[in-house]
Amino acid sequence: MTQPFSRRAFLQLAGALGGSAAVYRTAYGLGLMPAGASPGRPDLAPLSKAGRKSVLILGAGIGGLTAAYELSRKGYDVQVLEASHRAGGRNLTIRSGDLVDEVGRPQVCRFDRDPDLYFNAGPARIPGHHTALLGYCRELGIELAPFINENRNAWVQDDSTNGGKPLRNREYATDTRGFVAELVSKSIHPAQFDADLSPEDVARLREFFRQFGELDADFRYKGSSRAGLATHDYTSPSELKVPASFKDLLHSPIMSTLNFGDSYDQSAMLMEPVGGMDRIVAGFMAKVGRLVRTHAVVEKITLKDRSVEVVYRHNGRTQVATADYCLNSIPSHLLAGLEHNFPADYATGLAAIPRGKLSKIGLQSRTRFWEREGIYGGISWTMQDITQIWYPAHGIHRQKGVVLGLYNFNDAVGEKLGRLTHEQRMELALSQGEKVHPDYRSQIESGVSVVWHRMNHMLGCSARWSEGLRKQWYARLQAPVGNHYLVGDQMSYHPGWQEGAIHSAFHALADIDQRVRASQAQVPA
């Protein structure tokens, strides 16, 4: 490593730390803020009674509901067919008495009936830059609260670190930063930079790392109060914790979690609806619920010259619906098994896109024991299958709460969970959670497991687009075939986020709008 920084890059950084911070921040802010409140939301031409068009929407997830809302506002005749007993798709909040519709293994949630005892089994976070979704929250009157992703008081745990005992997140993070800062400041030499980097510049750089790691005057990391204190009673002198050994930290797989909260979609500020993510579904349903038919399982899709015909089963009876356009958000891997007359290559593409296998387990706790550990919201990490424990940031200091006792996004673990019964999954959650909170088992009263690739009408999470698959299929599947459009977060560059589902609907709606405008321009008024 001879030239870690160029002089220019360094001066820019130093400038940002010093007097020109305000300028820097402004520029940053300018780059971040999009011009419109909600880019891409199409301004559909309103239809007169005489020029009405009909649209069938398949699937009442966030993508389908967005389309239904936008179209019905502008005079389109809309019907939404949804296979499940409920609207919302992957946007799912679970409360007392709710059915968890896992194929072959349904569960009913046994939480106490209480407005604070719920968990979001699907989406839980809304990044502050997901402007289209936040725009709908504003428009539909959905109350939001900050979502806590990172909590320095929460735990990190791995069997190979600290004898398997959990460490506070702040302890692991601070020690790691301290050692990295010490290492870097020791190895900075003027000779490593362009010739004209002055000794003062190098001194400033070392000072930056001293602050970064809270090093002592000799640039050594001897522990820091950022890690929490060994003893502290607020009235007598406190004592620093003894830092872990750098080698242990380095060898610990916990290292991999440290930057999780820095990604664009995971960093502050995030939001969540008060009362559960499905308040968004309820908000849409208040507007378009009369257009949504649940228990309507689509079986056959036929492209016609100027329309689309859909055969579906509703409460055991076969029904037929026809419309000028069809917006289809049925997960592509399930759509591939339906009867249809799609072009052969289009059908091949539908079957080619694999799905993620995420899972969550919600656990009702007798007391909010984590709050007695100084944890208010946020996430503990463990390198076991359960991966994370989330603490509710709502209902603080009430008697009970629902923690998320597992959030897995590793496909192999997902498959393993799929093979377990609900009771076995509960045992797994308890035995692994016990390593983070010793008293865990005695606290947990009941639980619900949601293994998404086993859920009815879903059998998976977001589309797993590889670069190769994108190249081969994305444009083909995004373009309409006849008057049929494939939508949903699967048809976005942001699968796994509701914002992607909304934008896929915007994309299709803009195209339909253009076609409708063109056809109406030909008809004399």
């Binding site: 007993h85 008495g97 709710d98 059915l99 194929v103 072959g104 293994r105 349904p106 009913v108 009936r113 399982v297 079986e299 056959k300 089963r313 592509s332 891997h333 399930l334 591939a336 098994g337 339906l338 009867e339 052969a344 539908l350 079957a351 080619a352 896109i353 498959e415 393993k416 799929g418 093979r419 086993r454 009815n456 009408h457 059998l459």
Partner: protein
């Protein structure tokens, strides 16, 4: 919440439970077509094979094999495990046989081939298979060998792999599976398996 609405919620939850335990009494064909596709034409995207056109006695025997943990138990057999869990939830055999005979009679359009293999070479290899599965792949109940003609080729190839790799036909109590496992081990390599499946997909 008022008492009446609370009662309504409890009643609704109860109805859901009743509706779902009804899987046992009446098998909703929609439960099967979710994975096996419309008219059980098969859906490679979720690795669920075509059931349409297979003999009811064979389909029924497979459900029983899954239920008895004779099939779909190996951790590496992900699709097999998935089907085993579904089978475990089916407790009323008469109701199961009813949907199975419905599937057996349905005839959705034939699947198009997905396996690249040499059908001419496959035809020669098929000679040994014909003894049990019949010259036109029509199956033979007497030796419990199912029809192969018109089946999902990607699935048949996967099953040949399962038999040779010990993911199916390993249990002593699974006599039919063991027979087929022995037959599968007669195929010299993966290419031979692809060739014979390519030939099977020409059979009608």
């Amino acid at each position: 919440m008022r008492l009446s609405s609370r009662l309504a919620v409890v009643a609704a939850a109860w109805l859901l439970v009743v509706a779902f335990s009804a899987i046992a009494a009446e098998v909703d064909p929609g439960l099967c077509t979710l994975c096996h596709g419309a008219d059980t034409r098969g859906n490679a995207a979720v690795r669920a094979p075509r059931l349409a056109g297979l003999q009811p006695w064979y389909l029924s025997a497979q459900i029983k094999a899954y239920q008895a943990n004779l099939r779909g138990t190996h951790p590496a057999d992900v699709p097999g495990n998935e089907m085993r869990f579904i089978a475990a939830a089916l407790t009323d055999q008469a109701a199961v046989d009813k949907v199975l005979s419905q599937f057996s009679r349905s005839s959705p359009s034939m699947p198009s081939p997905t396996i690249a293999g040499d059908a001419t070479r496959g035809e020669q290899l098929y000679g040994t298979c014909a003894a049990c599965h019949g010259g036109r792949g029509e199956g033979n109940e007497a030796v419990k060998a199912p029809a192969l003609a018109g089946g999902s080729d990607w699935y048949q190839l996967a099953q040949l792999r399962n038999f040779t790799q010990g993911l199916r036909g390993m249990e002593p109590a699974d006599l039919a599976g063991q027979q087929m496992r022995a037959a599968a081990s007669g195929l010299p390599d993966a290419q031979a398996a692809a060739d014979v499946v390519a030939y099977i997909s020409t059979l009608r």
